[in-house]
Symmetry: none
Amino acid sequence: VDASTPKAALGRKRSADSRRAILDAAVRIVGADGYAGLSTERIARESGTGKQTIYRWWPTKADVVMEALLEKVELKVPEPKTRDLRLDLTAFLQDSFALGRSPKILDLLRGLAAEAQLDAAFAERFRATFVANRRAALTTILERRAGAPASSVRITTLLDVVFGVIWYRLLIAPAEFDQELVDELVVLVAGAR
Amino acid sequence: VDASTPKAALGRKRSADSRRAILDAAVRIVGADGYAGLSTERIARESGTGKQTIYRWWPTKADVVMEALLEKVELKVPEPKTRDLRLDLTAFLQDSFALGRSPKILDLLRGLAAEAQLDAAFAERFRATFVANRRAALTTILERRAGAPASSVRITTLLDVVFGVIWYRLLIAPAEFDQELVDELVVLVAGAR
Amino acid sequence: VDASTPKAALGRKRSADSRRAILDAAVRIVGADGYAGLSTERIARESGTGKQTIYRWWPTKADVVMEALLEKVELKVPEPKTRDLRLDLTAFLQDSFALGRSPKILDLLRGLAAEAQLDAAFAERFRATFVANRRAALTTILERRAGAPASSVRITTLLDVVFGVIWYRLLIAPAEFDQELVDELVVLVAGAR
Amino acid sequence: VDASTPKAALGRKRSADSRRAILDAAVRIVGADGYAGLSTERIARESGTGKQTIYRWWPTKADVVMEALLEKVELKVPEPKTRDLRLDLTAFLQDSFALGRSPKILDLLRGLAAEAQLDAAFAERFRATFVANRRAALTTILERRAGAPASSVRITTLLDVVFGVIWYRLLIAPAEFDQELVDELVVLVAGAR
DNA sequence: GGCTAAACGAGACGGTACGTCCTGTCTTAAA
DNA sequence: TTTAAGACAGGACGTACCGTCTCGTTTAGCC
């Protein structure tokens, strides 16, 4: 016997249309005027919804942006296909950099990172949802370095190196995400003794 | 005869007291309520100055914070004493991490990084002033790996790795800045083939 | 055989419990926080009913309050017992003032008067229902001044004087409703030449 | 030696233009959509000012309306010219009724009366400023009934009668403010035994 | 020593956004 | 068909800041 639904579905159901319009408006605004141009007020105005509807479902405008981003990135953890560290790592980086070439997504990421500095509660959600997921994906790959020579560098640190370079180029010192960087990171990480 | 100063210093001079009070108030507020709690209005209120005075000398509140930070960090580029890459790098990292153990300074840095995402003009100043300086210091060290075996990893990338890990742990995934990390980074950077 | 009811009462019938709960909640809220603290939302919340139910049966929250008030005052027009103007008038005023000594009822009345200024449609219902009734009651008394000396003051004006003083003390310049006022009004109205 | 100004005039001075625009907008809005159509937001919007400016100088939108009204009515207490009660009273009533024939002023008055029911703090200000003034003016006239026969009706009550009739016709049961009413009130008040 | 001009504190100003509350309508599932 | 529950678009609330704009005052170099 199933008794899992604790709260019976009472009242009107959440509008999928409004959700869609809100997420779309958020992405559109960030694309047009940057994250600084984003306000709950404006999302409501441009999505044709009410502010209350936004506050009902998301604690913060940053959470709206994060949901929109996750929809696009879909937490697509590319299952490591081979068992070769270098090949899997290369694939992971190429995949990550592919997203990185969409300016729209970069704007969203930068906005989320900014908000995480200003709002500790959101930072927690951001880390638990987005950051943790990416780390988990790469961890799977790095742990599988079967025949690799023992390294004095912890996997955690290797994760920090890979994601560190990516975020650094995104947030602090803009630079290309090209194939050469992929190769260099593979050398550094896979060759770490 | 020198006649280069076209506008003689006319009128009242800039008040050193006000400057001091503004910088101190900014640091105090960020320390107390985080960068999110900082506003030009509040700096003026708590420093006993007028808003106009702040706007006269700094383009944004972030520039106030940056000036306060630079006063503390003083762009202190530790001249590489030895000619040994590993030793110099270790010294540089230990020095950098030392600052990183002052929560007040971390808060300032995180605020500046956040603002850089929201204000492109400030991002430019931030990069030119603060980021460039740190990169120059490390570049000096890394270029001096005279007898080192040729590496396939560009110095630029190595810079990104080192600063990437630091900023990543500061902004995205908080973690300790301990001696072990110093050692690991030295292994990765100095051992890069 | 009677077949006059064209539309048989189809579906669920109006809930007497809900009506009761709504009227009670309205009175309780006005008593607690004044008419300004009253909202349809809050009536629904505190009465455990749905907003729709309120809107289905009453055009505005003021109508809810008016119905609750009428239930208490019951339009109890005290039949003039004697044929003596002074005696009947005294009785009418004492009766009216009695209600006036219940702060709860005064709050309801003041709320209705306020709403009547803000909502013309409700003002019409208020006048037709509540005001007209009170005027009719007093008119009956005043018209029965058979042997009284002819007065240059119209009955309508006398009504305005009596109710005017009452409402004025209620809405504009708070003052007691005491026996002395009864006597004075009787002097003025019955003695009008 | 004058030392009466306690606070030196610091900072920018209050803008007379803004004050004018705010008062005018308030009157215009009440005239157009009634007091129910008035909101601080709308006053700001239509006067081309900021909400803060309104809140800086007036505690409540009702206070804005009251100031606008006082500017029109100017507390013009017509000095009783003669020493004859009937003549002075007639003059006072005719004067009061004159205002009463401007629908714009009536709307303002009704709004203020409504607000006084909803906001106790404003009610206090309304009474102290507007109501008290009108009562004082009439008191002067009524107290001067030199040779008049002693009446059993207190002056206070007579004030309530006069203002009661006026407010009652304004708020509760609309009726004309004509010469006949003036005459009747004079008969009642001056003839009170 | 007086003149001129910039800097200063204070604070008013037109705006925008905040997060909350309420309005009146609509949708859902149960009675 | 009514009900309780609750989502929805919209609008107002009163507060906080933004960056600009007066103000009267203070402080300097120059004549």
